[in-house]
Symmetry: C2
Subunit: 430 residues, 2 copies
């Protein structure tokens, strides 16, 4: 497909969005810095800034005393009243946060997830209650400009449906639409590892890299891959499933997907426990942590278990470097604990299996945002529509706000209930 | 990194390039069809067309009699005098072609490659002789607007250097720069499988797919992967090396890269010959063809050999579908002959190893452009600069043409020789 032409209106929208994206990423910037970064002249920047300022998206302020002579240039910063709601459905808990334009986490709620019975209804109920609470406790002049959710499963890009979420046993559950109904706001949903990759690329270890591979260990192993600055999500949003790369075709361990020898089966918690010789005795997340502690206390079997799963991890990482020629590989989630204990094995596989020119400059790191990578990614997803078309999306979100306020004033609950609830406009993922 | 802003000048350049790209892809189009495809109004299209026409890039013509009443809309077509030179350095031969804007191959030359001694000097000599001949025999008003070369190895995006070309034993050879010096024109160089993927995406089996994986079998197995409409080339151009995905970590066959169990080792010509029970007796490309014929004549061992390499190919393809969620997987080069003889095994692996939602819609095909995929890709690479900035690149190429004509008129060879040759401007790959 050939790209379309560009009209004046598209350019204006693009430039407004790009300016706001710079501020969201970098915080306060002077007009001259913005002109430099965007490659536009100062009068264009001034016009764009005026438009965003009039809409209530940015503020222009006197900078703090610079200690230099001469009149300082005004600085532009994101309006601090604008925020998104970010949700994170993890294996072991449910997290919600209010995140300001600019990226600061303002407030958060967490609940330990029930292992059993975490069906759609339960998850949506907990998250929407958090969401309403976070909105209610926000300052009165604050405005929600988007909602994003991270989910540990495969998500249909078109409608935010969870197509396959093995950890909660979900298949084809309309998570985005249901959460959107409860909140009365459009909700975008992304795969947790995809969003972790986006977060690390925007605000974590991978800032400045145009090509990076993020591996996220949870119960399974997911991936998020940034290709030339953008998330690889494939034809319908299901890309980056690096955990199901078959690395062990002969004696492979059974995988939750029904196959054997997948990377996630070979490096997962049960593999670690078994290889440490603790099968039967230990299991699950707590068993895994016990092996981690044992390895750190010098237990030879536990250390050896890390080295052996590190070899499989290394094969997977080597394949990924050959495929993606990334500038950086990032280990997130539980792999933040695996990689440092198996670094030698991973690096040995890279030396043996990666073509020399592809391994010349690749760096290996653990996630810079730690445990919050997926939550931060959900917030970035929530901001994505605003940053593409700031004025239009702001107007749309103000309309939702007015509707909610009118219902509250009339003594109704904030969103309509009943059998014939309509999905809010924009619950689609794109 | 955040994208920059867009100025009026950039928009004009983008729109001119996009219009020319539509014509290059689709041939003659009416102004109204262009307006529809580009999402611009007809007066903008008319202005853009006038500008391209004045520069000599397109022509506006009366359409053939449509059989309908009313005055027909003018059609716009690429100017047929504009062409590129495309070169293809293959394992078994050297190919050169003159390819018109619009994609038609106008003329071609081929030479069987010397297996031994195919060093940089020899390859550049043969190709540049072809290039001069193709230019000399072009009509007097024809203009070369770019040069592209496909090479069976890893190419540095920054300078067209062959970093690693195991089939010819090249390491760090300045192929693009040397060929450019001989031709007196800037030369862009790409990896053969990358360019095959681009060609199949633009003009072959993959037209209309935004995400596709192309596997190219030659002596090794290379890959070209299109992600959201663009070639994945990674941080420095070395991406898509799917042939070095380790699929067989235990009893893997030795690979040319020094590792074992790589996909290309398990599905390559020697694997096929060995599995057919013909080791020692047969070897190389001819041996491979002998096994193909034997399989087609019903030889059980030969058929079984295809089934067994098909299983490895299937593991590789399944991994790639999990990673890329492509709409299509295309088998090119020698894999055009493997896939139809091993389709059942490949499909069985996909069923077993690919997550259900990712295999819902993926199609498997052989290359639509057949043996010419890489040559067509080299031509597309050659056109790429013109289609990004038509007026600027056209002016630049006219300047080269004038320089060559002046040297010919003065009785000099078409390009200067000697120890202090300067690289032509733009020999850089980007």
């Amino acid at each position: 497909m050939v790209k379309g032409g560009r009209s004046q209106e598209e350019i204006r929208r693009h430039n407004l969005g790009t300016l706001l994206r710079h501020l969201h990423r970098s915080g306060a910037l002077s007009r001259s810095e913005l002109a430099h970064r965007m490659g536009l002249n100062r009068s264009t920047i001034m016009a764009l800034t005026a438009e965003l300022s009039a809409a209530g998206l940015v503020r222009e302020e006197q900078p703090r005393d610079t200690g230099r002579a001469g009149r300082p240039s005004l600085v532009v910063r994101p309006d601090p009243r604008l925020y998104v709601l970010a949700f994170d459905v993890r294996v072991d808990r449910l997290v919600a946060a209010r995140v300001a334009l600019g990226g600061r986490i303002l407030d958060r709620r967490e609940a330990v997830r029930r292992r059993a019975g975490a069906d759609l209804e339960y998850v949506v109920e907990v998250l929407s209650a958090f969401g309403h609470e976070l909105r209610r406790t926000a300052p009165p002049d604050a405005l929600c400009v988007g909602v994003g959710a991270s989910y540990c499963g495969m998500i249909s890009r078109a409608d935010g449906m969870v197509r396959y979420g093995p950890n909660l046993g979900w298949v084809d559950q309309a998570f985005g639409a249901e959460l959107g109904l409860r909140l009365g706001l459009p909700v975008l949903v992304g795969n947790e590892a995809h969003l972790g990759a986006v977060a690390e690329h925007e605000r974590g270890a991978g800032v400045g890299y145009r090509n990076l591979v993020y591996l996220h260990g949870d119960v399974g192993v997911g991936g998020g891959i940034i290709v030339d600055g953008r998330l690889l999500d494939g034809e319908r949003g299901y890309g980056c499933e690096l955990g199901h790369m078959m690395v062990n075709p002969y004696q492979g361990r059974p995988c939750a997907c029904g196959s054997r020898g997948c990377l996630e089966a070979e490096v997962g918690e049960q593999a670690l426990i078994d290889l440490a010789g603790r099968s039967g005795e230990l299991s699950g997340r707590e068993g895994w942590h016990t092996v981690v502690r044992a390895a750190d206390e010098g237990d030879a079997a536990a250390r050896d278990a890390f080295h052996r799963i590190g070899d499989w991890l290394g094969i997977g990482v080597a394949n990924l470097i050959n495929l993606f020629n990334p500038g950086m590989v990032i280990f997130g989630g539980m792999l933040r604990e695996v990689y440092p204990r198996a670094e030698a094995q991973v690096r040995a596989r890279i030396r043996a299996n990666v073509l020399p020119v592809s391994r010349e400059q690749v760096r290996l790191r653990v996630a810079g945002l730690g445990d919050d990578a997926t939550l931060v990614g959900a917030a970035e997803l929530a901001f994505s529509r605003l940053l593409e078309d700031p004025l239009e999306v702001l107007a749309e979100m103000r309309a939702y706000e007015r509707r909610t306020a009118a219902r509250r004033a009339a003594g109704h609950p904030p969103v309509p209930g009943g059998a014939h609830r309509r999905h809010p406009r924009g619950c689609l993922n794109r």
